[in-house]
Amino acid sequence: MHQAGGSLYSEDCTEVTVDSPEVVAGTEYWAARFSEQNVPTDQPDISGFAAGEYVFATGGSWNYDGLAVGFPELEGKWSSAPLPAGPANAGSFIGGNVMGVMAESDAPGTSAAFIDSVYSDEGVAAMLDTAAANNVLWLPPRTDKVAETHLDDANKGALTEIFETSVGPPNCSGWEPASPNVQLALQSIVLEGVPVEEALAAAKTEMEATLQ
C-alpha cells in the first residue's frame, strides 16, 4: 500500500483513505502473491524457508537467529535485503511495541524516565548484550544502533537501509480498535475471493466508526 502511494488515513488523521486507487492497486498486487505464486496463507516455520519450500513468506526479526541457530549449515548462503521499491515509494512495514504514560499515572516522571532509559546508549547496550547472550535478535528502538547488533555486516547493512524507508502503523486515534476488522477484510480477499474494492470499502466503514 505504501509502495503504491497509498495510506490508511489522511496526514491529519481526519479522513480514512483506505479505498483510494493507490491502496486498491497495492492491495491487488499483494493479494496476487497468494493466488499466483502459491504464497502460504499461514505463517510458516523457518524450517520450511530453509528447505526452499516458499518463494515468499511473512515472518519477523526472530527468524534471523532462527536461521543462524537452527540451520548453521546455511551460514553464508542467505542474507536479508530491502523489499524492491514500488511504483511510488520504497519501504517496508515496521511493527513493534508502543510505550506511553497514562494521563492518570501516579508517577508520570518516573514512567517517562524509564522510557528515556530504553532509548539511552546504556539502555540499548544492556538490552543488546542480554539479547545476544541468549541468541535473540533485539532490534533497538534507535535505528542508529543497528550496527551494534550481533548480526553480520550484510544483514546490518540491509536492516539499516530498510529502516531508512520503512513506515510504521498510522498514529491516528481509532486505528488500534479498527485494525482487527481491517485484517479480517484483507483475509476475505485472499481466503474468500472478495473483490478488493468491496473488502476495502468494508474496512473503511470499520475505520470510520472508530475514527476520533
Binding site: 505463517q43 520450511g48 482487527p180
Partner: protein, 317 residues
C-alpha cells in the same frame, strides 16, 4: 422409643447453648475460614464486581460510567463478531460433546473388563486427559503446520496430496478444534462409562440372555437406560467445558495481539472473544457482559438437560 422420648426435650437446650455450639463447631469453622475468605475475595467479590462492570463502559483506565444494558443490547442485537462466536461455539459444542460421548462409550464397551489388555488400553486412551494442555495443543499445532514437515501434510503427501495451510483454512477450523477435543476427552468419558457399566448387575444380562435378547438389544434396553445418570453427568460437564473452550483457539491461531479467532474469525468462540475484548482492547465492561451472557447460556442449557433427564425418569416410571 423410650430413649428418644427422654432425649428429645434435652436436645433443643443443648443445641441452643452458644458455648456448646462454639465448642463443637468452632474448630470446624476456624479451619474453613481461610478457604471461605479466599473464596469470598477471589470469587464472590469479582463475580459481583463483574455484574457491575457489565453495566458500565469500564476500560481499565478511566473510572467506569454507568451505561445500563447498552453492552448487552450491543452484543445481542448488533455485534456481528459476537454472533459469529456464538455460532462457532454451538457448532463446536455439538460436534465435540456428541463425538466425545459416542467414542467414549464405544471405548468403554470395548475395554470394560479387568484383563491386562483392557487395563493397558484404558490407560493409553486416558493419557490425553492427564497430559499438559498447552503442550498437547502445541503438538497439534505442529501436526497442522503449513510446512512439509507438519504431520498432516506428511500424511497428505503420502496419499498423493500436497501441502495445505490447515490453520489458515476457515473451512477446517472447527473440525480441527473438535478433533482435538474428542482426542483429549474421549478417554475421560470412557473411564466414567466403564465405572457405570461395571456397576450394572450381571444378573440383568444373564436374564436377558436366557430370554433370547441379542447383545444389541441388551445394550439398548439394559446398558443405556442404567447408564443414564453417568451419561447425563458426562453430557453436562462436557457441554459446560466445551462452551468455555479457550486454550486451543488462543494457542493455535493467535498470530498477533489483535487477532485471536483464526482466519476470518472461523475459530472465534465466546471465551476467546471475551479475552479479545477484555485484554486486547481493554473493553472490560463489554467483556464482563459477554461473560454473563455465557453464564446465562450455560445455565439455560444445563437446566434444559436436567429437565429432559427428569422427563425421561418420569417416563420410565
Amino acid at each position: 422409643m423410650t430413649a428418644t422420648q427422654t432425649a428429645a426435650p434435652d436436645a433443643p437446650a443443648r443445641r441452643g447453648r452458644p458455648s456448646h455450639r462454639l465448642q463443637r463447631y468452632g474448630p470446624a469453622y476456624a479451619m474453613l475460614l481461610p478457604f471461605a475468605l479466599l473464596f469470598a475475595v477471589f470469587l464472590i467479590y469479582p463475580l459481583i464486581r463483574s455484574i457491575y462492570y457489565s453495566l458500565t463502559d469500564f476500560n481499565a483506565i478511566r473510572p467506569p460510567a454507568f451505561v445500563g444494558f447498552d453492552n448487552f443490547a450491543e452484543l445481542i442485537l448488533r455485534d456481528d463478531r459476537f454472533h459469529k462466536a456464538i455460532a462457532n461455539t454451538v457448532k463446536y459444542v455439538i460436534g465435540s460433546v456428541v463425538l466425545t460421548m459416542v467414542l467414549g462409550l464405544l471405548l468403554a464397551i470395548s475395554f470394560k473388563s479387568t484383563s491386562l489388555r483392557d487395563r493397558l488400553l484404558r490407560t493409553v486412551f486416558f493419557l490425553p486427559s492427564v497430559s499438559a494442555g498447552v503442550g498437547v495443543v502445541l503438538v497439534w499445532k505442529w501436526i497442522f503446520m503449513v510446512d512439509s514437515w507438519g504431520l498432516a501434510n506428511t500424511v497428505s503427501r503420502f496419499f498423493g496430496g500436497g501441502n495445505h495451510s490447515w490453520l489458515a483454512d476457515p473451512a477446517v477450523s472447527i473440525p480441527i478444534l473438535v478433533t482435538m477435543a474428542v482426542w483429549g476427552g474421549a478417554g475421560y468419558a470412557m473411564v466414567l462409562f466403564v465405572a457405570g457399566i461395571n456397576a450394572i448387575p450381571d444378573e440383568l444380562y444373564e436374564q436377558a440372555s436366557i430370554d433370547g435378547a441379542s447383545k444389541a438389544r441388551q445394550f439398548w434396553h439394559i446398558t443405556l437406560p442404567l447408564l443414564r445418570p453417568v451419561l447425563v453427568f458426562v453430557f453436562i460437564t462436557s457441554t459446560i467445558g466445551a462452551f468455555q473452550v479457550f486454550e486451543p483457539v488462543y494457542l493455535l491461531w493467535r498470530r498477533s495481539a489483535s487477532i485471536v479467532g483464526g482466519p476470518l474469525d472461523s475459530a472465534l468462540t465466546i471465551v476467546p472473544y471475551l479475552y479479545d475484548m477484555g485484554f486486547n482492547r481493554f473493553q472490560l465492561g463489554y467483556a464482563s457482559a459477554i461473560a454473563w451472557i455465557l453464564f446465562a447460556i450455560i445455565f439455560l442449557v444445563t437446566l434444559v438437560q436436567l429437565r429432559v433427564t427428569k422427563t425421561f425418569k418420569e417416563f420410565d416410571r
